[in-house]
């Protein structure tokens, strides 16, 4: 379990001071595949380097299983990193690279060589054990970097966008492989990416970051279906935003009178917020068609564009108040799309599905 407790990191000083981490707190559980997701420059690498020990936090504490990490130098932390650029040692072979950590831990020769063999097998690089790292491909280098970081059996593995340099197919393959490795080894993975699809498909939990802060932590499902704020909703997937006023609320849900007409029962954010004028987030696949202006319809509008995408169809709609709305329907073999451009339609949103945002 990693506890990140009120960690701040300020680079530089005076007028040049830059806050790369702003009072970040999060707890990463044991054996978890934990992903840091956010746009470029939001502080993902800085947070990872703080855990690894390459930069000292300006404020706050980092603990691993209750033990303080901040006072330990990187070489005393049971944490290994897969670097963004792999950072393989160019003067060593693939096998020597993988054995490096165990060698530094002064493990017996026999143990080192058997672990190295095991690791080579795990990442399917046995045939290339004797090669220099400059003599293997990018994807293979990535696997060696992974094996090198796994070989000493760290408690935590930090991975900084390890798949970003790979082509689409290789990346898909490695995603599956990483997930399998994490299951097999039981090591906690802290994974950095700015690819939302990657984050959703691999993670147990995701922390969405922006501007040096963590905005929301939750399972892929929670993050996607119930984003807490506009940035999270916008950063992951496509979202419709409807403006309205909360007319009635209990602990988890509230009724919102939409400016576009109609009422919607939506989930309220936890904690503060969610009264008065609010924004409601609705995913394109959370809405369906119904008869316009009927009791079933939350809002009504007209179809302005239809895009057929094989597995599903995207509808671009214009609501009665002039705002756009995106709706996605899954295609089935027996139904053909009936709605055409210019048709007047109703949009039904089931109660408790949409999410009221904090801000």
């Amino acid at each position: 379990m990693i506890e990140i407790d009120g960690v701040s990191k300020v680079f530089g000083s005076g007028v040049q001071a830059f806050t790369a981490l702003d009072n970040v707190s999060v707890t990463i559980r044991e054996n978890e595949f934990f992903t840091l997701l956010g746009p470029s420059g939001c502080g993902k690498t800085t947070l990872l380097r703080t855990i690894a020990g390459f930069n000292a936090p300006t404020n706050g504490a980092v603990r691993l299983d209750g033990q303080d990490l901040v006072s330990l130098p990187p070489y005393k932390r049971p944490v290994n990193t897969v670097f963004q650029n792999y950072a393989l040692f160019p003067h060593m072979t693939v096998a020597e690279n993988i054995g490096f950590g165990l060698e530094m831990l002064n493990r017996p020769k026999a143990e080192i060589s058997s672990t190295v063999d095991q690791m080579l097998d795990l990442v399917q690089m046995t045939a290339m054990a004797g090669r220099r790292t400059s003599e293997i491909s990018g994807g293979q280098q990535q696997r060696v970097a992974l094996a090198r970081a796994l070989a000493p059996r760290p408690k935590v593995l930090l991975l900084d966008e390890p798949l970003s340099a790979l082509d689409y197919k290789l990346r898909k393959g490695m995603q599956v492989e990483l997930k399998r490795l994490q299951n097999e080894t039981g090591i906690t993975f802290v994974f950095v990416t700015h690819d939302q699809e990657e984050a959703l498909s691999m993670s147990d939990r995701i922390a969405v970051m922006n501007h040096a802060q963590i905005l929301q932590v939750g399972s892929p499902h929670e993050i996607y279906e119930h984003p807490s704020e506009r940035f999270v909703a916008e950063f992951i997937g496509e979202t419709n935003f409807l403006i309205g006023t909360v007319t009635q609320a209990d602990e988890t849900q509230g009724s919102v009178a939409l400016d576009a007409g109609g009422n919607i029962v939506a989930r309220l954010p936890q904690g503060e917020g969610g009264m008065g004028q609010v924004t409601v987030a609705v995913r394109p696949e959370q809405a369906t068609f119904c008869a316009p202006d009927s009791g079933e319809a939350t809002v009504s509008g007209t179809v302005s564009n239809v895009v057929y995408l094989g597995t599903d169809t995207h509808f671009h709609l214009t609501l009665d108040d002039g705002n756009p709305f995106a709706l996605r329907l899954q295609n089935t073999p027996d139904n053909s799309v009936q709605q055409k451009v210019g048709d007047r339609i109703g949009i039904a949103i089931a109660p408790g599905v949409a999410q009221v945002l904090k801000d």
């Binding site: 005393k76 003067h91 530094m104």
Partner: protein, 267 residues
């Protein structure tokens, strides 16, 4: 044709100027080597091929003593200078920028910027002072002087190599439980090796052919090969000087070639 910007090779007169430079640089050297094989005693009139000046230099006791002193000096000076340069390069590259960095840089590179004759005179006076206090007049002064002025020459390629080195390699090694000392031995040093080799060879060659500082610092009977040759030139010039120069040239070329081969193999 696509515009490739300013192309110096396309400028008028480029070939002529380039050729003139090469001729100026290499003709004297070619002549020097050629006349080292002259049968006669003239360094200007060709009278036929012979090894006689090499034999005469080889049998000249003074040449031998001076050559050995030069070699010994160059080996010790380049070793000391390179060790110091490695430490200096680490201290100036492996830490965040700090106030006064340029000053430190300038101090390390002082011998490159101060005219050699000034350093020579300063050393002469300084060592004379020490000599008068301690009474010691041995060869150590030469070793100290050579080690010192060779440092910036060793420092430059080592620093360049360190700056070009990927910092994450050292971080990766530390991440994999390498203590600072072991990271240095296992990662930094092997990767730095071509730079160290280049620095050491540069220092060696610089020490080997130094005249000005040696001339001012040496005591009587402490001639190195270059100062011995200078002394000879003042009396009578024979192709023996050419022969010694040719051997020095051969040593330099060999070292450059060895360095080249070694650094190619590393990559």
């Amino acid at each position: 044709m696509a515009d490739r910007g300013f192309d110096v090779q396309k400028q008028r007169g480029f070939t002529t100027i380039a050729l003139a430079c090469f001729v100026l640089l290499y003709t004297p050297i070619v002549l020097l080597v050629m006349y080292s094989f002259n049968v006669g005693t003239s360094i200007a009139i060709w009278e036929g091929f012979s090894w006689r000046w090499y034999v005469s230099a080889w049998e000249n006791e003074q040449v031998k003593v001076a050559a050995l002193r030069s070699l010994y000096l160059a080996v010790v000076a380049s070793f000391v200078a390179t060790s110091a340069a490695v430490l200096a390069a680490l201290a100036t590259t492996r830490r965040p920028a700090y106030r006064g960095q340029t000053v430190v840089f300038a101090i390390i590179n002082q011998p490159l910027m101060v005219p050699e004759i000034v350093t020579a005179v300063a050393l002469l006076i300084f060592f004379a002072l020490i000599k008068s206090f301690t009474g010691y007049t041995g060869g150590a002064f030469l070793f100290v002087a050579h080690s010192a002025f060779c440092i910036p020459f060793a420092y430059m390629p080592i620093r360049a190599r360190l700056q070009g080195m990927d910092l994450t390699l050292e971080q990766a090694a530390a991440d994999l439980y390498g203590t600072p000392l072991r990271v240095f031995r296992k990662v930094t040093l092997p990767l730095l090796w071509p730079g160290i080799l280049a620095g050491a060879m540069l220092a060696f060659v610089i020490s080997l052919d130094d005249v000005v500082i040696t001339e001012f610092v040496k005591a009587a009977g402490q001639d190195t090969l270059p100062t011995y040759m200078l002394g000879q030139l003042r009396r009578s010039v024979t192709p023996e000087v050419n022969a010694i120069s040719t051997v020095l040239l051969a040593i330099s070329v060999t070292m450059v070639v060895i360095y080249f081969i070694l650094s190619q193999r590393k990559n």
